[in-house]
C-alpha cells in the first residue's frame, strides 16, 4: 500500500478534525466557566493550540517528516520507543471510543431518546471499519470529497443564525476574571487542539512537503476561527445563561431558527454535518491506531487488526464512563491534562532525538 496524500487532503482532514470535534459542544464548555467571554477562552485556546502545534510540527520538520511511530523508535531507543508507540496507540483508541460515545450521547439526548445507543455506536464503527479496510488513502479521498459540502452546511448554518445575533449578549467584554477565562480555555485546549497531534502520523505520507507546517497550522487556525465565530454567534443568539444550560448549544440554537413558517427545521443540516465530521475524526483516530499497530507488528497491512480494535472501541466507549455527566466532567476536567502528558512526552522524545542526531 503505497500511501500518498495531497496537501489539500491533509488540510481537509485537519480542518474536519478541528471543527467537528467541538462545534456542537464548544460554546457550552467554554461558556460554563467564562460566561459571555467564552469566545475569548476559545480564542486563547486556539492561540495556545497553535503555538503547541507549531512546536510539534517544527520538530517534525527538523526530523524530516518521518512516520510518527518510527520517529519514536528512532529517538527513544527500541524499548522506550515501543512503549511510547503502545501509549500513542492507546491514546488513539481511547479518543476513538470517546468520540463514538459523544456521538451516541448526542443521538440519544437530542435526536431520538427512545432508541438504544448501541445501534449508533455499532453503525458508525461498522462504517469506520469499512473505511479503514479500504485503506487510509480512501479516508483522505472521501474527506476531500465531503469537506466542501459539509463546510457549506456549517457556513449556511452560521449565516442562518446571524439574523438574531445581538451584540449586547456578549457584553460586558472581559468582565470575567482571567482565571475563569483560562479555565474555559483549558477545557477546549485539549479537545481539538492537542488531540490533533495524532494527525502528525500522516505527515510523512504527504506528497509535497514544502510549506507543510504552514498548511497544517492554517487548517488549525481556520478550524479554530470557525469555532470562535460559532461561540460568538451562539452566545449572541441565546445569551450565555441559556448556552451554559444546554448540552449541545449549537444544535439548540439551530432548533429555534425558523427561516419561514414552513421551513423551520434547519438544525438537521448542522446535525448531518456534525455526524459526517465526527465520522472523519473517528476514522482518523482509528486509522492512526491501526497504523501504530501495523508499525508495532511490522506487518504490511493492518486489516487483521480492524475487527478486534473495533470491538474494543465499542466496549470502551460504553465501559469508560457509566453516565453522561461523568463523561462531560471527565472531558472538561481531566482530558486536556491527559493529552498534554502525551504531548510533552512526544515533544521531549523528539528533542532527545534531535540531540542524538547532532551528537
Amino acid at each position: 500500500m503505497n500511501l500518498q496524500v495531497s496537501r489539500f487532503q491533509f488540510f481537509s482532514i485537519v480542518l474536519n478534525f478541528i471543527i467537528y470535534s467541538s462545534i456542537l459542544m464548544a460554546p457550552g464548555i467554554t461558556v460554563i466557566n467564562a460566561k459571555q467571554d467564552g469566545w475569548l477562552s476559545m480564542l486563547l485556546a486556539l492561540g495556545v493550540g497553535l503555538a503547541a502545534n507549531f512546536l510539534y510540527l517544527m520538530l517534525f520538520k527538523k526530523h524530516g517528516y518521518p512516520s510518527l511511530f518510527e520517529l519514536m523508535d528512532r529517538s527513544a531507543g527500541k524499548w522506550i520507543g515501543t512503549a511510547l508507540n503502545i501509549v500513542i496507540v492507546f491514546y488513539a483508541l481511547h479518543l476513538t471510543a470517546m468520540v463514538v460515545r459523544n456521538l451516541s450521547n448526542f443521538m440519544i439526548t437530542d435526536v431520538s431518546p427512545y432508541s438504544s445507543p448501541y445501534i449508533y455506536q455499532i453503525l458508525i464503527l461498522l462504517v469506520v471499519a469499512y473505511t479503514s479496510y479500504h485503506g487510509v488513502k480512501n479516508l483522505f479521498l472521501i474527506s476531500e470529497l465531503f469537506t466542501p459540502f459539509i463546510s457549506l452546511f456549517v457556513i449556511g448554518s452560521l449565516i442562518v443564525i446571524i439574523k438574531h445575533f445581538k451584540i449586547i449578549e456578549l457584553k460586558p467584554f472581559f468582565y470575567n476574571p482571567p482565571s475563569a477565562i483560562l479555565e474555559g480555555a483549558y477545557s477546549t485546549l485539549g479537545f481539538p487542539f492537542i488531540e490533533i497531534m495524532l494527525a502528525g502520523a500522516f505527515l510523512t505520507y504527504v506528497k509535497r512537503k514544502d510549506k507543510l507546517v504552514s498548511i497544517a497550522l492554517s487548517a488549525i487556525a481556520i478550524g479554530g476561527a470557525v469555532l470562535v465565530i460559532t461561540v460568538i454567534l451562539v452566545i449572541g443568539n441565546d445569551s450565555a445563561y441559556i448556552v451554559a444550560r444546554e448540552s449541545y448549544p449549537t444544535y439548540s440554537v439551530m432548533r429555534d431558527v425558523s427561516l419561514t413558517t414552513t421551513f423551520k427545521r434547519v438544525e438537521i443540516i448542522i446535525g448531518i454535518a456534525w455526524i459526517i465530521g465526527l465520522f472523519f475524526k473517528i476514522s482518523t483516530c482509528f486509522c492512526v491506531a491501526m497504523m501504530g499497530i501495523k508499525h508495532l507488528s511490522k506487518s504490511k497491512t493492518f486489516r487483521g487488526y480492524i475487527v478486534p480494535c473495533a470491538i474494543l472501541v465499542w466496549a470502551m466507549s460504553n465501559g469508560l464512563h457509566k453516565t453522561f455527566i461523568d463523561f462531560t466532567n471527565f472531558v472538561s476536567m481531566d482530558w486536556t491534562l491527559y493529552w498534554f502528558t502525551l504531548y510533552s512526552f512526544v515533544i521531549i522524545t523528539m528533542l532527545i532525538g534531535l540531540a542524538r542526531k547532532r551528537a
Binding site: T131, L141, F279
Partner: protein
C-alpha cells in the same frame, strides 16, 4: 451449458492430434470442398460451386446469406471464365499474371491454411479454390441483412445527430471514421470467445490516448478467457475490476458522437460485432451525468439540466428512504401542517411505512420490468392496470397512503432523468438497501450508508483511473466539465495527452 462445454473440449482434444497435416490445402479442388463440408458437419447453407473449363477447375465456397450473390458472378466467375477462355489453362500462366487478374473483384487475400480459410468462410467471405494450387483465395464480399442506421433508442435527444450504431462492426467503424477523419485514428482488431470467436475493435486516437489505459484495456482483453460473448455488456463485466460493485465502471453508448468525443478526450472505446452498444473506458462517475446534448445546447441551460440530473439521481436513490426515516424517526423535522396531513393519510393503513415503501417500490419495479418485456400490443393494458394499481386502487382500498404514491412516482420519474441506463440501475438497487438503513436508524442510518457508499466510490477504479476523478482526487481544472458545463470558449477544450479519465 456445462455438458456442452465438456463435449467441446473432448472434441477439441481428439482432433488436436491430426490437426497439423489436415490443415494443408490440397491441390484437388473437390477434396478441399469435401474436407470443409465434413468439418462443418455438412451444413445446409454451405454453398460450393465448381466451374470447369476443360480440365481446369475452380470452385467458390461461401455461406449462403452472408454473401452478395449478385456480385458473385460478375466479380469473380465471369472474369475467371473470360480469362480461361483466352488463356486455355491455369497451368500455362505464371503466378503473377493470375493474381493480377484475379484482383478484379473486391479485396482479396490468399492463405495456405485450411483452418483459417474456414474461419474466413464463416465470417462471410468467399473462398476460391483453384485446381492444382495449394492456396486458397479469399475474397471478402460480405453482405447480409442488417438493420438500417436509425436513431438510438436508449439515448435520445432533441438536438444532435440522429445516427446510432447498428449491429454490424464495419458500419459502426465507418460511423466513427466519418466523424474523426484523422489519420491518427486507430482500430485494433481482437477476437474473443473460444466458441463464438467474436470480432472486436479497440479504437483510439494515437497521440491523444491515455497510454496506461490503452495498455490496460489490451491487457485485459487478452486475458479475458471466455467461451462466448454476444454483447459488450458481457465483455464489460469480464473486463471490470475485481470486487463487487453496483456501479458500472465502463460506460456504454449507442451514439457515435459520444464515442468520438470520448476518443478525443483520450479514452479508449471497444466495438463489437453484433451489438450496437460500444464500450468507453476509462470512465468517471461524473461522465454518466453528461449527455451528448449538453454540448450542443447553450452552456447555461446545459449546466442547469445537469444539476437537475444530479438532483434526480439523488432523489431516485434516497427519496423513499427519506420518507421512511422522516415519518418513523424524525417526525419533529416535518413542518406541523405537513405532518398533520401525512398523519391523516396514514390513518388506518395497516402496514408500517417501511413495508409500505418497499411494497410500492417493488410494485413499481415489476411494472417497469413488465413494461419493457411485454409484447407491444399489451402495452395499454399494462399501463392501465399499473396506473390503477399503484395510483387509485391501492389508496382507495386503504392499503397505502397517497403520500407514498407520490414518493414512488417521483422516484420513478427521477430515475428516468438520466442519460445512462446503467447508472440509474445502480440507484434502483441501492434504494432498497438505503430504505432498510433508514428504517433501522433513521437519518443516522442514511448518513452511515451514504458514507459507506462514497468510500466504495472513491476506492473504485475504472481501468486504473479513479472513478470519482474530478472530485476526489480533486482537480480544480477539470471542474469545468463536472458539475457545471462551462462555455466552450472559456478555454479551448485542449485535449491533452493524459486527460483520459
Amino acid at each position: 451449458m456445462k455438458i456442452y462445454r465438456n463435449k467441446n473440449k473432448q472434441a477439441k482434444e481428439k482432433s488436436a492430434g491430426k490437426h497439423l497435416d489436415k490443415d494443408a490445402i490440397s491441390p484437388e479442388v473437390d477434396e478441399n470442398i469435401e474436407t470443409i463440408k465434413q468439418r462443418l458437419g455438412d451444413p445446409f447453407d454451405f454453398m460450393a460451386r465448381s466451374y470447369s473449363y476443360g480440365k481446369d477447375r475452380f470452385a467458390l465456397c461461401y455461406i449462403d446469406g452472408m454473401v452478395s450473390k449478385d456480385d458473385l458472378e460478375r466479380t469473380i466467375v465471369y472474369p475467371l471464365m473470360d480469362w480461361l477462355r483466352e488463356n486455355d489453362s491455369f497451368d500455362t500462366i505464371g503466378d503473377r499474371d493470375f493474381r493480377q487478374h484475379i484482383q478484379i473483384p473486391t479485396k482479396m487475400k490468399e492463405t495456405t491454411s485450411l483452418s483459417s480459410t474456414m474461419d474466413d468462410l464463416l465470417r462471410g467471405n468467399i473462398v476460391l479454390f483453384v485446381q492444382g494450387r495449394r492456396q486458397a483465395f479469399i475474397a471478402s464480399d460480405q453482405e447480409w441483412a442488417t438493420r438500417a442506421i436509425s436513431e438510438p433508442e436508449s439515448q435520445t435527444l432533441i438536438r444532435g445527430p440522429r445516427e446510432g450504431f447498428v449491429e454490424t462492426l464495419s458500419i459502426n467503424a465507418t460511423l466513427i471514421r466519418r466523424r474523426i477523419t484523422n489519420p491518427a485514428l486507430r482500430f485494433k482488431s481482437f477476437v474473443i470467445g473460444k466458441v463464438t470467436k467474436t470480432q472486436i475493435l479497440v479504437t483510439y486516437i494515437e497521440g491523444y490516448v491515455n497510454e496506461n489505459a490503452l495498455k490496460e484495456v489490451i491487457n485485459r482483453i487478452e486475458s479475458v478467457d471466455t467461451l462466448e460473448v454476444y454483447e459488450t455488456g458481457m465483455l464489460e463485466e469480464l473486463m471490470e475490476e475485481k470486487g463487487y460493485s453496483p456501479f458500472p465502471t465502463i460506460q456504454s453508448t449507442e451514439r457515435p458522437d459520444v464515442v468520438c468525443s470520448a476518443l478525443t478526450e483520450g479514452k479508449v472505446s471497444i466495438l463489437m460485432e453484433g451489438t450496437p452498444f460500444v464500450l468507453i473506458a476509462p470512465t468517471t462517475f461524473m461522465s454518466f451525468f453528461q449527455a451528448a446534448e449538453d454540448y450542443y445546447t447553450r452552456f447555461d441551460l446545459s449546466t442547469f439540466i445537469r444539476m437537475i440530473r444530479f438532483i434526480s439521481f439523488w432523489i431516485s436513490l434516497a427519496l423513499p428512504a427519506t420518507y421512511v426515516a422522516l415519518t418513523t424517526f424524525h417526525q419533529e423535522l416535518i413542518p406541523t401542517n405537513l405532518l398533520v396531513s401525512l398523519a391523516a393519510q396514514r390513518e388506518g393503513i395497516p402496514f408500517p411505512a417501511l413495508i409500505e415503501a418497499l411494497v410500492m417500490e417493488g410494485v413499481f419495479e415489476i411494472l417497469r420490468e413488465a413494461g419493457i418485456r411485454m409484447p407491444r400490443q399489451i402495452g395499454p393494458a399494462v399501463s392501465i392496470v399499473g396506473a390503477i394499481v399503484i395510483g387509485e386502487a391501492a389508496v382507495a382500498a386503504g392499503l397505502v397512503s397517497p403520500a407514498i404514491v407520490i414518493v414512488v412516482s417521483l422516484t420513478a420519474i427521477a430515475s428516468f432523468a438520466n442519460p445512462y441506463y446503467s447508472i440509474s440501475g445502480s440507484a434502483r438497487l441501492l434504494r432498497f438497501i438505503l430504505m432498510l438503513f433508514a428504517a433501522s436508524a433513521g437519518i443516522f442510518g442514511m448518513i452511515v450508508f451514504t458514507l459507506a457508499l462514497f468510500i466504495h466510490l472513491v476506492s473504485l477504479k475504472s481501468l486504473g483511473q479513479p472513478f470519482l476523478s474530478p472530485l476526489a482526487p480533486l482537480s480544480v481544472k477539470k471542474q469545468k466539465d463536472a458539475f457545471f458545463r462551462f462555455p466552450l470558449w472559456w478555454e479551448d477544450r485542449k485535449k491533452k495527452k493524459k486527460v483520459g479519465g
